[in-house]
Symmetry: C2
Subunit: 747 residues, 2 copies
């Protein structure tokens, strides 16, 4: 059903940029003539910045709204605020004066569903006990299913493009393709609403990826306000690149990381001007979000972490282990998810998206509710796992024995390593189960017909694994501080191991394994902690993770989905390995009929029309004559048809037998012949050419760097064939299957 | 004298990269055949990372050494440590137990020159008083002159390339030119030594720019260890880009800022792979530097700042003022410095570089010594200006009146705004004088024949201006906290204005005005403070500064010096504005003799040799025949000469009358003719071509993006001319003088 609605068009970067330069030149020339024109030139120059400001403001505001709404709906699954149903749990208890700091999330105003029902139906035995648990469980599932149903129905009914994370499609769009409606206002509205619903339904998905899509929709819509951007696809893509940065900036509160994400992961053409503007927009968005203050703590970042202990060189061992885990998980996840998506595409499963979403939601809800670590939202879980245990912490993860006698080291550091207590052991078991559950459920969740991001689930998997390893290391260090490994840096009573740091490193490793982000990931994490101190562990883990994952397959999850969906995307990072010549890839092949060409003179209108009708090509080369085949230029099908059509209507004497002339000076026509149709104006006299002997790697390079749509192939000055982006993609896909595997360290 | 030693060569990026891909392919193919080859492939893949590690280690170590040596020599100008002459002032007093925290820089072990002389000559009246001051003054000058003399002599004698900051040349090299010896071992050794001397001599220069040069030298030298990088100019430039990042990373302790600096300011070709590796190298270097710990405080960053008060929206006004000041200063500095350098080049001044350095050093020393803010080193001054006054601070800049009665607001905040005392007023006068002095002396210092960086002097100017404005604002706020501007956010007894922040913003603005860095500058500053809080002020100031400076001229100081020295640099940022066609720029011009071409058959060895001898072109197009002029390929002069030479020596029967044949299948030679010389192997059969109708902006784009050296121009498949990078540069230089001025906001 999807294939039909899709309309792909490639843009020609060189022409678009050339158009923009012409526009500039015109404005600059005019601006010297009058004051009005000068003002126009200034406002034109300023419009880029204004647009960035608007994108930042709008995206920041939307992100804030999404955060608040998702919080509220997520809490609604568990209960209701009696003071006003529009308060979420935390907000509800703020208004209560009775709560202490310790029990901040327990207040009489907030009642679970079981409590509310007890209140109304007076069935006293419901209060507390197994039945109350059951009622809450049931209500949790009911709400989750309701949210999920609403989300998938809205997506299907109004905006099919609103599903998924949107990053693969945005990468494709930025590389120069047009997917109509993908960044339209309906997509924006529906994605915003369904994103809230999907997150609230408790599915194993995040809102970070879709926020990039939301920001790009905002940018695309706002582009319509400015002629400069509305009319030029290349200029608009500069804005979209910046919007991708804005998306990550509001998702994590990391503007610099966002810009680098856009640069490293999604963008295709990223001039310096865009770098600077992206940064501006990302900052505006981050500050808009902060002034909305959705997390209620005036922190800019999603996970604020503050660690107290430095790390030691020996710990690089476990950090690299986490990197290996992250890489393996990333590779495994991509394989499993793609396999599952293929099943969905090829079997009847794909015909029942609503049922699928409901079943997965029910499954997630049922399995997640009993375990407190899976019941809470992904972001909340990660926050808790990153947390460094202080003495006052009441979290189960901080259930250490209060020891100041066992080791005999005295009081010492208040944050010193302590032996694990019963609470912590219980938490570890729960976490282990949560890890297995998250790993499974994320594979089948990503790719369903609801908005779904991958950042949070991937990070959650890594954070759980990291925390488990961290606590393990901590206990090892506590009980073996005299062994060779720990001696010298981990004396009793010292705080040597920070499990929260392990969780952070694990999260980075897993996210790196799945997306293959590197620098931007480290920078995002750096912005979360705000210190250079932890960059080395993070980098060691993400690097290892990338190498390990690359050994199993070069593609990140986004590239894999691009290929799965068959988007025409020319990967800018991948090196072309096969040694073929352009002559092997161009069309026509040896067995094909010869290339359809126009001659610069001598063809009649009828002949030209017949040629155009008989083919579906979007353009035709013009040659000197059928004999010499020397290349003159290239003419677009659309221009040709329109020109002939216009001429037939308006120009007197143009009939089917009229000569079509592409030369500058045509020979005088015979006396009895109809007047010729002069079409030199529509010929592109500077088509890009390569020779048939050009190695394909150079041709691919030219296509990538210049953003070409097609290129003509010549031999000794004679036209031989044509090569298009699609030919290259097809060739690379074949090549991909045969080519020798290079060592992953190369990348 | 310089022009002669310079040997420029352009590299052809496309060919170099193609060569590297071939190499890769070969290794990959071999690696499937044997284990040894597989190991070789792995080691080859790993060599890039190993090289980065080595570059990071070496640069970090060198930077640490330079820091330590410069500290020691700078202190030596003032006195000597009696415990051991190899201790610097601070280090000397560490060993003393008598010092308190307050008087940490006064200890009996450290003696000024006057004290030492008193000690030895027993002339008691020398101790203290005017004569002691005079003796210290004199010794200060003598040492400064000695250091400067040594520096300039070493540079002139051993490595003329060691002078200046090196960044303009590195930009040129990275854009694809070869300057032999510029990154050699002699340059490295001499630059390292003379940098220490130049910094210690007290001249108004910094070591940050030259550190980039030093790091690039390290990288270039280390490249020789790896065949992959030794033999491929394009690959080596990837390493050099990373090294530029390393340089800034060690200069400021800002690895992320360093990478962005390399990306924004110096690099030409920066693939993602390089981004990741640069980041790695920058981190390694930063941590190497930290473990050497040259600042003695285990801080990574050069200026560590910690502010206590947030900024208020109203303060954006003064921040933007600082931006305007920075922009004006930047524009003025560039004009003045370039004018001075022109004078140096064109008049007899240029013939006496040693005298010039000595005179400037003497002038600097004489004027700087009496004012404590100019006497201290640039970095130290900036550090002091950035500092937020705490209550215990004994610095003169914190000479506030201890007021808790005037305002009646009680004790309140210990850091509250206070009225300025006598000490502060004195300091302000000194700062104002220092500002004027720094502005003047930097103009004539930058460009002398010693290693000299611009970062620190520019930042110092901005920091002084910022601090002055900051203190002014503080006093304004203190005395007018009821006025409309300050009411609502600056109540009495509150700490509302932080003069240190103004200094930081001013420093960023001035550096931005001079270098036109934007994002990287903000990120470097962000890494110094480690908080997102102050990004908005910094961004507002640097943006304003860039716009203001751009209004007076687009070029940053580095581009201006590139143009001054006539380096062939194709600016990647600048938009080409003129609307000309390739036909207008290519050679031969209409009045010129026709292009020298070879025909694919029919020319004799003698004819070819005569053609090559009669011209100085580095390559010749090969055409089908003199009549048709259809393009076959391109052959390099060097290849042609070598091949003919070899053939004459080794191949039997090749004489002057032999036919030179570039075709695949040549017609059988006449019976009596000597055997033909087949040279198809040396012909590049895929030369880049554009048509004569291609607009120049597209041609320039192709040159930039593909990194071409030359491109052939055709018309209807026939060769018409050739266009080289030099032609484009010449054309752009002409164009630059005529083209309409665009609004600076465009960039």
């Amino acid at each position: 059903e999807w294939g039909h609605t899709r309309t792909f068009n490639t843009i020609d970067w060189v022409r678009e940029k050339s158009k923009d330069r012409d526009r500039h030149r015109e404005i600059a020339n005019k601006s010297r003539q009058s004051t009005v024109a000068l003002l126009h030139s200034v406002s034109d120059a300023f419009s880029g910045w204004l647009l960035m400001l608007l994108v930042g403001l709008m995206s920041g505001a939307l992100a804030g709204g999404i955060d608040i709404a998702a919080h509220w709906l997520t809490d609604m699954k568990e209960g209701l605020c009696l003071v006003g149903f529009w308060f979420n749990h935390e907000h509800c208890c703020w208004t209560s004066n009775e709560t202490t700091f310790q029990e901040r999330d327990r207040c009489p105003q907030w009642q679970s569903w079981a409590e509310i029902m007890t209140g109304t139906s007076e069935v006293l035995w419901l209060r507390g006990g197994a039945l109350a648990y059951f009622v809450n469980y049931l209500m949790f599932l009911v709400w989750a299913l309701l949210f999920a149903l609403l989300a998938v129905t809205l997506v299907r009914a109004f905006a099919p493009y609103a599903c998924g994370s949107g990053i693969p499609e945005i990468k494709t769009i930025l590389s120069g393709f047009i997917i109509r409606g993908y960044l339209g206002k309906w997509t924006l509205i529906i994605k915003t609403i369904t994103l809230v619903l999907a997150v609230s339904s408790g599915l194993s998905l995040g809102k970070e990826g879709p926020l990039v899509h939301v920001a790009c929709c905002c940018a695309n819509i706002l582009c319509h306000l400015f002629t400069k951007y509305r009319k030029n696809e290349a200029k608009r893509r500069e804005v979209l690149s910046a919007a991708a940065a804005v998306g990550v900036s509001v998702a994590f509160g990391a503007p610099i990381g966002g810009v680098l994400f856009s640069l490293e992961e999604v963008s295709y053409y990223f001039p310096l001007k865009t770098l600077w503007r992206s940064f501006f927009a990302a900052l505006v968005a981050a500050f808009t979000l902060r002034s909305i203050n959705p997390f209620g703590n005036s922190r800019l970042v999603l996970f604020y972490v503050e660690f107290h202990a430095p790390w030691h060189l020996v710990e690089l061992g476990p950090f690299i282990l986490l990197g290996i885990f992250g890489g393996l998980w990333g590779a495994l996840f991509i394989r499993a998810n793609i396999a599952w998506c293929r099943i969905r595409k090829s079997t009847r499963l794909g015909h029942y998206p609503v049922t699928e979403v409901l079943v997965v939601t029910a499954l997630t809800g049922m399995l997640a509710y009993p375990n407190s670590y899976t019941r809470m939202g992904g972001a909340e879980l990660i926050s808790e796992l990153f947390n460094d245990c202080s003495l006052l912490d009441s979290s189960q993860l901080c259930g250490y024995k209060q020891s100041n006698s066992t080791s005999g080291a005295g009081v010492g550091n208040g944050l010193a390593d302590r032996p694990a207590g019963v609470g912590l052991y219980a938490a570890l078991w729960q976490l282990a189960l949560a890890l297995v559950f998250k790993m499974m459920i994320t594979v089948i969740t990503f790719g369903m017909k609801v908005p779904s991001g991958l950042f949070i689930p991937s990070m959650a998997v890594g954070a759980i694994a990291g925390r488990l390893l961290g606590v393990g290391m901590e206990q090892l260090a506590y009980y073996n501080h005299d062994s060779a490994i720990f001696r010298g840096w981990c004396s009793p009573g010292a705080d040597c191991i920070t499990p929260g740091l392990y969780a952070m490193v694990g999260a980075a490793a897993c996210l790196g394994g799945v997306t293959r982000m590197t620098v931007s990931l480290v920078v995002i994490m750096f912005e979360l902690t705000g210190g250079l101190e932890y960059i080395v562990p993070l980098m060691a883990a993400t690097m290892t993770s990338k190498w390990v994952a690359d050994a199993f397959g070069r593609e990140g999850i986004y590239e894999a989905h691009i290929r799965l969906n068959g988007y025409p995307f020319l990967e800018p990072k991948e090196e072309f390995q096969h040694s073929s010549l352009t002559a092997d890839v161009m069309r026509p092949r040896r067995s094909d009929p010869p290339l359809a060409v126009l001659t610069q003179e001598g063809m009649t209108v009828e002949e030209v029309e017949a040629l155009v009708e008989s083919t579906h090509y979007s353009g035709f080369p013009v040659v000197v004559s059928q004999d010499s085949h020397r290349l003159v230029g290239f003419v677009l099908r659309r221009d040709l048809l329109i020109s002939i059509d216009n001429a037939r209507k308006r120009q007197e004497g143009v009939v089917g037998a009229s000569q079509v002339v592409f030369t500058e000076h045509s020979p005088a026509p015979a006396d009895d012949a109809p007047p010729p149709l002069r079409l030199r104006g529509i010929v592109d006299l500077s088509p890009f050419t390569v020779t048939d002997h050009t190695p394909m790697d150079i041709t691919v390079d030219i296509f990538r760097k210049l953003g070409l749509r097609q290129c003509l192939v010549t031999h000794n000055g004679k036209l031989l064939g044509i090569i298009t982006k699609k030919d290259i993609l097809k060739h690379m896909a074949n090549d991909c299957q045969q080519r020798p595997r290079l060592h992953p360290l190369q990348l």
